[in-house]
């Protein structure tokens, strides 16, 4: 039979997809007109019709920048078509674009901070006030007390880095991501060739839950299934990733690193393998203590299984051992990232390479800057900065550290005493402390390398890069470094990377962190471990503002206004906890609650699996006051190489 396939209309590759049709309806016409009549009499909204076309766009939700096509009805964007190569976060981008709580004018704080009480002001007024604050700080010789925090690396973040650095401050930071953590630990971001891999061993990296480059991993995963490539997940919770993997290797919470060391031990001692990388000698001397049997006692994984994993890793042609625990939010100690990455170097995998970001060059610091840049040292990460430094001004670009950092409370206290500028489309928990909130545009409203914006930017909002440019142009002495008229001039200049070199095993870090970890895991006062998990679409919390995320949440996560935490049945019995019981989770730092218990053997004993992404105080009417935010009570011990708290495992008790 003849076939005319709609897929041809949706194909993204191959240029414009402006198939158009007239809104005349042939089939089903009587019903549809009848429905409209009924809707009219029942006072229902009737969506307006218009010319249909498909426009090519780029999803800017994550650095991956997937190509998508957007179905337009007149001027309205009504559907994102990903043609099986997007991700759930991108599918919510229309809810971001048309969010009723979007900011459409600069806001100025009125009243006490942290309450999100604002009054609208004009762009000119806001930019003038912000830049004169910066000029004032420079005049008083405190250049390095201006800091910035970006959500992730993109055009506007590079511009903001450039501005802060040119003023004379090294304190331009990023929220911790897979890339920042691996860059801190192994000296570069890791590039995995998942497509050609023939054996994947993931150490708590929840590859299918927003980890890394989500859209392309989904594709690779689908190919692994077709090519029968083995994918093994080591984790203390049977997460979505573990359930989709060929095998889930359950472990005691937080002991991924011991599995990696056990495997390394077997490879070095039994297979005579090794690595030429720096400090391998000192590192392998420590790994030498973790025979598969010793690792087994610590992790609960049978020694035979550890040997099996090692053998499989060494047998494979293009094996990949994946480091970086978590999904959208990542937290791993640097010793753990090094150990897992180290496995790749030991088995000489060609599927993992390192690279680093390179910001665009040519910035000329202002006259007074050199001294500060030479004297003040950049912290290894934003958590360390919040803990150890004070600042007079913080510029927040899309980030939400008050909500996402375990140092959120400490940060909030510092924000109350400083001048805060937030550039973002929706007010979040951090923006609640801002002196100014500058509205930025979202995915389909900006010009990209792929072409023009899909929709007209919402009135009043501008590109975050333009907001930075406008500020920079009014800072005395900076004009020369910021001559561009608009962010569009920078599209081709930004987003560059280069190869990275110089991986070292850093034996001393391993020694220190293993000692700390063993101490924490042995803490008898807090006998359980909190392990965060992520719900689909909600991710690490950004997704909760988009109400269609709620359509996906099942009763295992959030139901009738209550957040559910998963506890192993035996463990629950031991602690006298029944299904559905209301609980509070207590750590050294404090407590959160109440949450409800869901007893299931899909988590390891002594583990409390808590969904992240809930418990926002300010983040649109859809995300506010739903559940609790476990980061408030999580482990805040800062890793020296990443400058970030390793919060993924926290010792807790329940009441």
């Amino acid at each position: 039979m003849k076939k005319i396939d709609r897929k041809d209309f949706l194909k993204i590759a191959g240029g414009a997809i402006a198939g158009s049709a007239v809104g005349t309806v042939f089939s089903g016409a009587p019903f549809i007109s009848l429905q409209w009549l009924v809707e009219w009499t029942q006072d229902q909204h009737v969506p307006s019709s218009g010319l249909e076309k498909y426009l090519k766009g780029v999803c800017e939700i994550c650095p991956n920048k997937c190509s998508i096509s957007v179905r337009m009805i007149g001027e309205r964007a009504v559907k994102v078509e990903t043609s099986n190569s997007g991700c759930p976060f991108g599918q919510t981008s229309l809810q971001m674009l048309y969010h009723p709580d979007r900011i459409t004018t600069p806001l100025k704080n009125t009243g006490s901070k942290g309450r999100a009480k604002f009054t609208p002001v004009t762009w000119d007024e806001a930019i003038k006030d912000i830049s004169s604050k910066i000029n004032g700080i420079i005049k008083s010789g405190k250049n390095d007390r201006i800091a910035s925090i970006n959500k992730e690396r993109n055009l506007s973040s590079e511009l903001l880095d450039r501005m802060v650095n040119s003023i004379g401050s090294n304190h331009s930071y990023y929220e911790p991501t897979l890339d920042t953590l691996t860059a801190g630990a192994v000296g570069g971001m890791l590039d995995y060739n998942f497509d050609d891999a023939d054996f994947i061993l993931s150490f708590g990296a929840r590859l299918l839950e927003g980890w890394g480059d989500s859209a392309s991993i989904s594709k690779s995963f689908s190919r692994w299934k077709e090519r029968k490539v083995k994918f093994i997940q080591v984790d203390s919770v049977c997460t979505r990733t573990a359930s989709a993997a060929d095998e889930w290797v359950p472990i005691k919470p937080g002991t991924e690193i011991f599995v990696a060391l056990g495997i390394a031990n077997h490879l070095i001692k039994k297979k005579g393998m090794g690595s030429g990388a720096a400090d391998f000698g000192a590192w392998s001397a420590i790994a030498g203590e973790y025979t598969p049997e010793a690792a087994s006692r610590l992790t609960g994984v049978p020694a035979k299984k550890i040997e099996e994993l090692a053998d499989a890793l060494s047998r494979a042609k293009s094996p990949v051992a994946v480091a970086g625990k978590g999904g959208k939010a990542i937290s791993s100690s640097s010793a753990e990232i090094i150990a897992v990455y180290g496995l790749n170097t030991i088995v000489k995998s060609r599927s993992v390479t390192t690279k680093q970001n390179v910001n665009f060059a040519g910035a000329a610091p202002i006259q007074t800057a050199a001294k500060f840049l030479a004297e003040s040292k950049k912290c290894a990460g934003f958590d360390e900065f919040v803990k150890t430094k004070n600042f007079d001004m913080l510029i927040v670009n899309g980030a939400d550290p008050v909500y996402k950092s375990v140092y959120g409370k400490e940060l909030a206290a510092k924000l109350e005493k400083s001048f805060v500028v937030a550039i973002m489309p929706l007010v979040n928990d951090t923006a609640a402390y801002a002196d100014y909130v500058l509205p930025s545009i979202t995915s389909f409203e900006s010009k990209t390398a792929a072409g023009d914006p899909v929709v007209k930017p919402v009135d009043g909002a501008i590109h975050a890069g333009d907001a930075v440019l406008r500020i920079a142009k009014m800072v005395e002495g900076l004009q020369q470094s910021f001559q561009w008229k608009s962010y569009t001039d920078l599209i081709a200049l930004t987003g560059k990377t280069a190869g990275a070199a110089g991986f070292s095993f850093k034996g001393d870090i391993l020694k220190k962190q293993l000692a700390d970890l063993k101490k924490a895991l042995g803490d008898a006062n807090y006998s359980l471990s909190l392990v965060p998990i992520e719900a689909p679409v909600v991710g690490d919390g950004d997704g909760l503002a988009f109400p269609y995320a709620m359509k996906v949440l099942g009763s295992e996560t959030f139901s009738s206004g209550k957040l559910y935490v998963q506890i192993n049945r035996e463990t629950a019995k031991k602690h006298g906890i029944c299904n559905n019981e209301s609980l509070k989770i207590i750590t050294e730092k404090g407590k959160v609650g109440s949450v409800k218990a869901l007893l299931t053997d899909s988590v390891s004993p002594d583990t409390v699996a808590v969904p992240m992404g809930f418990g926002h105080k300010f983040y649109t009417r859809y995300a506010e006051d739903k559940g609790v935010n476990p980061r408030e009570i999580m482990n805040d011990k800062i890793d020296p190489l990443t400058g970030t708290a390793s919060w993924l495992v926290t010792r807790v008790k329940l009441s």
Binding site: M1, V25, V46, F221, Y548, K551, D601, S602
Partner: protein, 271 residues
């Protein structure tokens, strides 16, 4: 003779979902919500009352197994587009009970639902074995600018009506209209892809014509990993099946699931 020809020409839309590839990511459900103008509430966490067509169900065998042998999987479940025992005269459990013919089976096998006809008696909801039908307890809401992303091809329901997945049949209508505009005369030649299927990032969902033995969905429906949701008749021997079909009204869904995991198939049997 003529009738046979007609029957041959018609599509019989079906779906196959490969659970080995499904990661439970929920993109299908979000895509469905966006395509079908599902209402937007500030607190949508009352799960039995939540208006959603596609439920990504988390299933586990932890009643039968203990740690560490417990397994988890995800089953995206929408209306299974049942056809009853006779494909030529489809009788899904939900259709015959509707007093106002708000739900019916089309000649493409899709079970339609016309919200504006629905009087809210909820008979169909009760008779659906797959809990695929949802009732609008509240007037569907779309706050402010959210209205801008509403799809004009799908009408908005009123409070007190039943809604469900229609295999996105409005997309097929639209594609046929387009083909006609281009001078195409045989509208049944037009294929289409529902919103959930075109979104799935792993390609776990496949949609197509079960009447076409060469289509991928037909091939997958015959795969030895294929099964249907708690459909007991599938487990019976052929002659027994025949006997049962004659006396009983089985839902006989057109949505097939595929899994290589025995424990999932075990769950699909009543013990």
């Amino acid at each position: 003779m003529m009738k046979d020809m007609e029957n041959k020409m018609k599509r019989r839309w079906g779906m196959a979902i490969d659970l080995d590839k499904c990661t439970g990511c929920g993109e299908c459900a979000v895509s469905c919500a966006q395509e079908n103008n599902l209402p937007i509430f500030e607190d949508d966490s009352d799960i039995p009352k939540k208006m959603t067509y596609l439920d990504v169900m988390r299933i586990t065998n932890d009643r039968d197994a203990k740690f560490p042998d417990v397994k988890v999987a995800f089953i995206p479940k929408m209306c299974q587009q049942c056809e009853g025992n006779d494909p030529k005269n489809p009788q899904p459990p939900c259709v015959s009970v509707c007093p106002v013919v708000a739900t019916d089976t089309g000649d493409d096998g899709v079970v339609s639902q016309i919200w504006s006809r629905c009087i809210g008696c909820r008979y169909c909801q009760v008779s659906c074995p797959y809990e695929a039908r949802v009732f609008n307890w509240w007037k569907p809401k779309y706050e402010g600018s959210f209205k801008k992303s509403l799809n004009p091809d799908v009408s908005i329901a009123s409070r007190g009506t039943i809604q469900k997945c229609t295999f996105c049949s409005h997309i097929w209508k639209k594609e046929r209209d387009k083909a006609v505009m281009k001078g195409e005369l045989d509208i049944n030649a037009v294929l289409y892809t529902p919103a959930c299927v075109s979104a799935c990032p792993t390609g776990a969902m496949v949609f197509g014509d079960l009447n076409d033995p060469k289509s991928e969905v037909s091939r997958l429906a015959r795969d030895n990993r294929a099964f249907r949701l708690v459909h007991t008749i599938d487990q019976k021997k052929p002659d027994e099946q025949k006997k049962f079909r004659a006396i009983k009204n089985f839902p006989n869904p057109k949505v097939y699931y595929l899994s290589s995991k025995q424990w999932i198939r075990d769950l699909m049997r009543f013990k």
